[in-house]
Amino acid sequence: MDQVMDIITAQNLTYDQKLLQLAQAAENSVDPLHVSDKFRYYFEKGALCDMNEGKAPYRPRYILADFQKFVQNGSEFLRLKPPEDLDDLLTSLCILYGHIPSVTGRPVYVGNLDKLIDPFLEGVSDQEASKKIKRFLNFIDRTVANGYCHANLGPEATRAGRLILDAEKELQNAVPNFTLKYDPDITPDDFGEQAVLTALSCASPAFCNHRIHGQTYSGDYGIVSCFNILPVRGGGYCLSRVVLPRLADLASGVEQFMEELLPEALQALGEYMNERVRFMVEESHFFDTSFLVKEGLVDPDRFVGMFGVAGLCECVNTLLKDRGGFRYGRDEEANDLGDRIMCKIHGFVKEFPAVYSKLTGDRYFLHAQAGLAPQKGVTPGVRIVVGDEPDNIMDHIRHSARFHRFFPTGVSDIFPVETTARNNPAAILDLVKGAFSIDDKYLSFYTEDGDLIRITGYLAKRSEMEKFSKGVPVLQDTSHGAVNNYRNNHVADRKVRF
């Protein structure tokens, strides 16, 4: 009970943050999952990880409600009629957000906002719409107050999209994180460039390869949290991960790693995920009881289990330490081993039977997991460790594209750029176009002079991180993790481009 008392008496947490942490402590006081000895072994070694999702999952990790449907039908449970004007729409959305759970206790997806808002702008002046949109975005920032919360834009250019980008630039909010679904064949250059300029001012939006990600699932998709690509009207059950560097620590050599450790750990992780999903579906009764399901805003058949991979870089570097010291991202020998490891993991996941995974053909999907705050020596997903980035950004992106191909549910890179890039947003857009044409799936930019900074994928405000470091409560709970993550992942030392 020490932990509970620590939460109750903490001086650096807000009331809401205490409530959420107490809920998690309560969840973790029970242990209903049937977990294999193999999983426990690798879990204790740090090679398998449950992402602290909680011991008794009673809601999916991420939910992407079908807001379009909500706009059409309203909600009987919430006693809301379909919105008739912009005020109705924005208020209804705010109400619904408060009832969408996730692993953070708050919604991680607030919709493809431009598409939701644009039909309601008829007869509303730019000035009036802008004022209401800013109010709405501030509501999300101040109430959701969690960096995993994500809004989407595009791929088409709309008046609402432009107003939202302008508003973001002015507000400098960390929440929601924005991603532009970008396809050069659909998204006009001027809208793409406006998105670049916005990103160079407030670190958001990021750019998602719509041409590729649009094909991931039947039906619509959305981007949530740290760049997770998931089905709309569904979501992600859970995200469990193999922490490759900790597995490599146990290896006696490359072949033993490939042939013994990796298959055994992957099997244990797959079985663990099946148990989590089974419990959630069969025992927690979330899907039987939630009004989101009853009203068709969420379809239980549209959930995906995310099979996470983290730290490929350090894994390869560890395995090759005594074999020439080749470095992932720098040397072809290391990159080739990384590719081999990923092919093995991809091969496993392609064959492993996943429970309650109708949409994905009874399979889990790979996700390049972007990190957990207190962890050291685990570079997100398949990214290159800070300090080893190729000198030439084009080489960096080619490397990324090679490894992005394994991941349908999200993989990304983050590039800090000099502020001078603001003078030529078209050049950054050229880079995005080039990257996406070679099947890179996702990238984001930020300038170093701003208050907003991308941590693993989510945004945090430097000013909040500094306050929290001094023991002062701050609004956003993701600022807590950001402090550690910023330090442990050497975020300040990322190679600044141009």
Partner: protein, 278 residues
């Protein structure tokens, strides 16, 4: 195949024209601007060897009376160009158009084109023609960054092939130009008209520096020549910065924000609509 002395290739540049471009810098210039910010590109190496001994990476040596640079050893400390008394650089390779093209090609699909700059790249028109012929075949655009003192009308094929010229109009009055550069600007003005008539004037650039550059006169003069095309003409007002400058202006101050804004307003008054200040 034509060759040219290549000082540097920047694979991905954001500052040499629209979008992202590979920039190729050729060695050698035909004028001597007092505010030149890369004076080491002005002359071709005369193999005096002064730079060789002090190279900390031993990347320079003399072979058959010529200074040779080993780019694999070079640590880019810039010592050699600092000690060169001739405004030259030993870090130059003679490359033919095909060799340069192969280096450009590696940057596809991330770039939309190339920009060749200098020194003065128009000293190597055959090289440019061959290089541009290659890059245009693969769908890239090709821009020339020039001081405008080489007569473009002598090279109609190159002018037609390139996508545009970024023309540095350094000053308007002949005596101001001569004091600044040691040369004559008669051809710069005729190039301005020639390129504008052929829709090849990508951008007019003026490096603004109080007391040495008659930027107001350039704005007025260019607008007069461009006439109705003025509104569509990109004009870049570049603030003088002492970075890299040697000699009398190495400590000269940059123009104030107010000066730049005044020039901006003057350009507007004369019909320019696409003006940027950098």
């Amino acid at each position: 195949m034509a060759s040219a002395p290549v000082n540097k290739i920047i694979p991905f540049s954001l500052v040499d024209g629209p979008g992202s471009r590979t920039s190729v810098f050729l060695q050698g210039c035909n004028i001597r601007c007092a505010y030149c910010h890369n004076p080491e590109t002005q002359q071709i190496c005369c193999n005096c060897g002064i730079c060789v001994d002090g190279c900390p990476a031993k990347a320079l040596f003399v072979q058959d009376g010529r200074v040779v640079w080993d780019d694999r050893k070079c640590v880019s400390c810039d010592r050699c160009i600092k000690v060169c008394p001739h405004c030259a650089s030993p870090r130059v390779h003679m490359l033919d158009a095909q060799e340069v093209f192969l280096r450009v090609q590696k940057n596809i699909p991330f770039i939309r084109g190339i920009t060749v700059s200098g020194g003065e790249c128009m000293l190597y028109p055959e090289f440019l023609l061959e290089l541009f012929t290659e890059v245009k075949k693969v769908g890239l655009t090709a821009l020339i960054d020039s001081n405008g003192t080489v007569d473009f009308s002598l090279y109609p094929e190159l002018t037609a092939l390139c996508d545009g010229v970024m023309l540095d109009v350094k000053s308007w009055e002949p005596q101001v130009f001569s004091a600044l550069t040691g040369g004559s600007n008669e051809i710069v003005k005729s190039n301005l008209r020639y390129l504008a008539d052929r829709n090849r004037l990508e951008e007019i650039r003026i490096v603004c520096l109080d007391g040495r550059v008659d930027a107001e006169a350039v704005i007025r003069g260019a607008a007069e020549i461009l006439a109705e095309k003025t509104a569509l003409q990109k004009l870049k007002l570049i603030r003088f910065r002492r970075f890299g400058v040697r000699g009398s202006l190495e400590n000269a101050p940059s123009p104030t924000e107010e000066t730049m804004l005044n020039l901006y307003e003057l350009a507007q008054k004369h019909g320019f609509r696409k003006i940027s200040i950098t």
